[in-house]
């Protein structure tokens, strides 16, 4: 199994906590016909990082950079999660048993399943581990 195919490029935007930044980002994506599959915002004092999973990361990167946004790609993994109690625990416990640290995660509803997006400190190890435990990983080409 190649881990590459399960590495999904998330775009991360540095943003000050001020009105309109998220709207500006969303509008730019709309203009470029980029679909935002999921996003989350992490805040610190006065600034934050907007994280977004989009279907056309290169188009989004180019557009947002040209608008002056500070953008970077971050590798995340996406895994199907049972939409029932214990669905998250199942995944999180496997990773923690293997000593893999989840830096952050967020979720969105896929066609008929919940999808968990994970940023972990050891991406390849996490992919192999989840794969060996028969979790369904989302290949990047299926969404991007």
């Amino acid at each position: 199994m190649s881990c590459e195919q399960y590495m999904i490029r998330q775009i991360s935007l540095f943003s000050e906590n001020k009105p309109g930044r998220l709207a500006a980002m969303a509008k730019a994506c709309q203009e470029e016909n980029v679909n935002i599959l999921a996003f989350s915002i992490a805040e610190a004092e006065g600034f934050g990082v907007i994280r977004a999973l989009v279907d056309k990361p290169d188009v989004a990167f180019k557009k947002l950079t040209s608008m002056g946004f500070n953008v970077a790609f971050t590798h995340v993994i996406a895994v199907e999660m049972k939409d029932e109690p214990g669905g998250l625990f199942e995944i999180a416990s496997k990773l923690s048993e293997a000593g893999i640290n989840i830096e952050y995660s967020y979720a969105f509803s896929g066609k008929n399943k919940a999808i968990l997006i994970l940023r972990v400190d050891q991406v390849e190890e996490a992919i192999r581990l989840l794969h060996s435990h028969k979790f369904t990983l989302i290949a990047s080409e299926s969404i991007q």
Binding site: S12, F14, E16, A44, E45, G68, N70, A72, E103
Partner: protein, 429 residues
Amino acid sequence: MFWDEAIETIKPADLKILQEKRLRETVSRCANVGFYQKKFKEAGLRPSDIQTIEDLQKLPFTRKTDLRDGYPFGFLAVPLRDVVRIHTTSGTTGKPTVVGYTAGDINTWADLIARNLTMVGLTKDDVFQNMVNYGMFTGGLGFHYGAEKAGLTAVPSGTGNTKRQIEMIHDFGVTAIHCTPSYGLHLAEAAAEMKMDLSSLRVGIFGAEPWSEKTRNELQEKLGVEAFDSYGMSELYGPGVAFECSEHNGLHIWHDSYLVEIIDPKTGENLGPGERGELVVTPLTKEAMPLLRYRTGDITMIMEDECPCGRGPKLARFTGRSDDMLVIRGINVFPSQIEHVLLSIPEVGNHYMVYVDRVNHMDEMTIDVEVSRENFHGELADLKNVQNKVIKSLRDVLELRTTVHLVEPGTLPRFEGKAKRVVDRRGDD
């Protein structure tokens, strides 16, 4: 290498005797100047009351505005017929300040420049291109006379025509240049574009504007020179007042010719070695235009460590103007200190703004700084680390707690000319 080893390495006890003798002479020359006559009278002082260095404290300060009020010849202590040259220094407003020189002054000044040039290792074997203005500005003729005195081959190229400047460096085998640091960088770029080889250069003297260690590295790398910092001002003859030696750790000021004090610019009180404040100078050899306790407005400190080269106490590299000084919770802060800290942290850019507010009767300083585009890797934790690093570095240098905002690159104001990066909002309410 010394130009005048005896005087450059004079023992402190002998120096004090010489300084006091020259101080008395200076005070008696000042007695010919209307401004000082009036000041002495107001203070109930006779020139003979000033005998020792300690007596200096009895004297009033002289400010740049005083000189401007004396336009054109109010500060001359000799008749105009004994003045052999005039320079002017432009102020930001109104009339310039006029500086006169006797034949003795011109000679003394050239001698000081010769000390500096010799100190940085230049000799008769060097060809020296002086790329500064030769008009009313003191940098041209000042350096020129000193270079000739030290026996260098002087090339009085003046300013402008960069292409010709580069050709002369190349064709004449110029080994040393003097210019502003920004012109130095421009020269390097132009030479690279012209594909001209400037490898004959080995020494670069840069002055007339403050420059950073980062600029030093850039100048040294691009021009292939050893870069030396030069400090001076027309009121104190011109360039050559203080100069770096090859240690590149502070500037030697010539203590036999300039009596140095460092003061708190707000209170006027004297500060000790290692304490940063405004440089106040009493020139000890000036004839045509002697001055007492002249407030330079420039910020530095007397360095505590002795220099391995054997010369006297040094001044730290200059870090701005006293006019720019802020007092935050009783602590003196210079914007240049903030700039220096930010420049040393690659994760932030060099654009920043400083805001000072009074919140519940307490001064609060907030610094907005752009994150560096190249150093953003998408992680919030990294940004928090950068923010903490900036706060900590500022606290170490300023001994002050500050609030630091990281802002998006390209969002802070850009300035042409003099930047206004400090906004003091205390008293706005």
